[in-house]
Amino acid sequence: MNNPAIALIGAVADAIVQNKEFLTSLDAAIGDADHGINLSRGAEAVRAKAAASPNADIGALLKATGMTLISTVGGASGPLYGTAFLRAAAPAQGKTALDGETVKLMLAAAIQGIKDRGKATRGEKTMLDALEPAFEAFVQGLEAQKPLVECLEEATEAARQGVEFTKTIIATKGRASYLGERSKGHQDPGATSSTIMLAAITDFCRKAP
């Protein structure tokens, strides 16, 4: 298991599983109390899958991850994150290491995948409210020629602020939208899980040799 991409997947999976109850409790407030459970089930499956077929090709690994998420998570987040990983796989096809430019393409593709699948836009209290600001911060960092880890750190920070922002708005997509005004004051579970994943990636890259 010397493949760093697999180790990264493992680190992200760990972060999700550690936050299982937290994410579920967020979903209990404005959804159906399963977001952490769903993602943890997916994370365990992804980890097992990655470990079983160590693949140096990051694109192939991400594709397998996306497929696994689609077939194990269910709910809204399964197809959304699954599609995101499938789409992120394309720019990483055949690669065994990633540079900032590729990561940018991957993030852009992932976000577009979520939009295509979920038909949401920013400001509707979904994972997009974390991911789009994160992407923008990442691109700014890249343009300012900051190192990859720093770009990721700034992206994560932007995602965190996005999560804070979700507390101030009404949900208009997903299950929380049924709540109308009552969804205000609560942070979006999906935006939170996106941020947790970004933070885990950032952390991993920061500590990477």
Binding site: A28, D34, I37, N38, G74, G75, P79, L80, R175, G180
Partner: protein, 332 residues
């Protein structure tokens, strides 16, 4: 959490095994998948119906697999939409050559997962059509939402589209009648107590001893608002008002009524509700062609109920009253 289960992770698997062991004359398992289909699936020369969703709504949907209703049901994790590969397996297992209608409840997850499954099945040249049930009037159908939720009214779609399929109708015809049901069915529910997703281990919300949740969904999602508990008559009148305000029911119209228990509410209370519902409809001159009272679309052990009203025309009435023979819905 106090439940009659083994491990929370195994509850759907063990339930499905229990269903097949209980009803081998009705259903069989698609091995390796959380899918239950008719014992004689695929039925040649008949449009097949597949529904499903998260588990925890039993007898929906596996209990409605059988003659005159569904051909297959897909069971997701508790309150979690099933994944596309599961739905795809169900479609493959039931397709008798005349195509498959997917009956989807309007939740983002269900719609996306069933859509992906439809794409997979179409790639295999299986004819697939979809309808999305959105009967819950608690949720305003404004442009800024994902639309209404699908709740207990879905059972009428299973019953009527299932009866239509049994006549040998085409996929387009079965879909059309399903859409007619959807256009004419409205529901609204309320809860007295929360429920506990086994894997979560604790209730998803709490209610004070005198508090109820109005407009409750079927997944422990909060409803439109909380209020002090009122009498059965007041509560029934309130929910029915919302339903009647939403769709044009007029004197002389014929309807079917479903007083649906969410899980822990005794039949006694559901009948007390039905009494008031029948009284109000009677006052308005709305004819009741058929009433169902019981647990059809539940939310684990939640206490509460929903009222569904389906406006009938001659076709819908005939199909509603047609025979059905499934584990949880039998009608001569």
């Amino acid at each position: 959490m106090k439940k009659v289960i083994n491990q929370a992770e195994q509850v759907v698997e063990e339930m499905l095994q229990g269903v097949v062991l209980a009803h081998p004359q009705y259903v069989k398992r698609v091995e390796g998948f959380d899918v239950i289909v008719r014992a004689n699936a695929p039925v040649a020369g008949k449009v097949a119906l597949v529904s499903g969703g998260g588990s925890g709504h039993e007898p929906s949907h596996g209990g409605f697999v059988g003659r005159g209703m569904l051909d297959g049901a897909v069971a997701g994790a508790v309150f979690t939409s099933p994944t596309p590969d599961q739905v795809y397996e169900a479609v493959k297992a039931v397709d008798g050559g005349k195509g498959v209608l997917l009956v989807i409840k309007n939740y983002t997850g269900d719609v996306m997962n069933f859509d992906m499954a439809a794409e997979m099945a179409e790639a295999d040249n299986i004819q697939v059509a979809k309808v999305v049930v959105n009967d819950d009037v608690a949720v305003e159908n404004s442009t800024w939402t994902t639309g209404r939720r699908g709740i207990a009214g879905t059972v009428f779609v299973h019953k009527i589209a299932g009866a239509k399929a049994e006549t040998g109708a085409s996929l387009e015809e079965v879909k059309a009648v399903a859409e007619k049901v959807i256009a004419n069915v409205r529901s609204m529910g309320m809860a007295l107590s929360p429920c506990t997703v086994p894997a979560a281990g604790k209730p998803s919300f709490t209610l004070a001893e005198d508090e109820v949740e109005i407009g409750m969904g079927i997944h422990g999602e909060p409803g439109t608002h909380r209020e002090s508990i009122r009498s059965a008559d007041e509560t029934a009148a309130h929910l029915l008002d919302k339903i009647l305000a939403d769709i044009d029911f007029t004197a002389g119209d014929e309807v079917a009524v479903l007083i649906n228990g969410l899980g822990a509410t005794p039949l006694m209370e559901l009948y007390v509700v039905n009494r008031k519902v029948a009284e109000i409809l009677g006052e308005k001159g709305i004819q009741i062609a058929k009433t169902y009272v019981g647990n059809y679309m539940t939310s684990l052990e939640m206490a509460g109920f929903s009222i569904s009203l389906l406006k009938l025309d001659a076709e819908l009435k005939e199909l509603l009253l047609a025979p059905a023979d499934t584990p949880a819905f039998v009608q001569f």
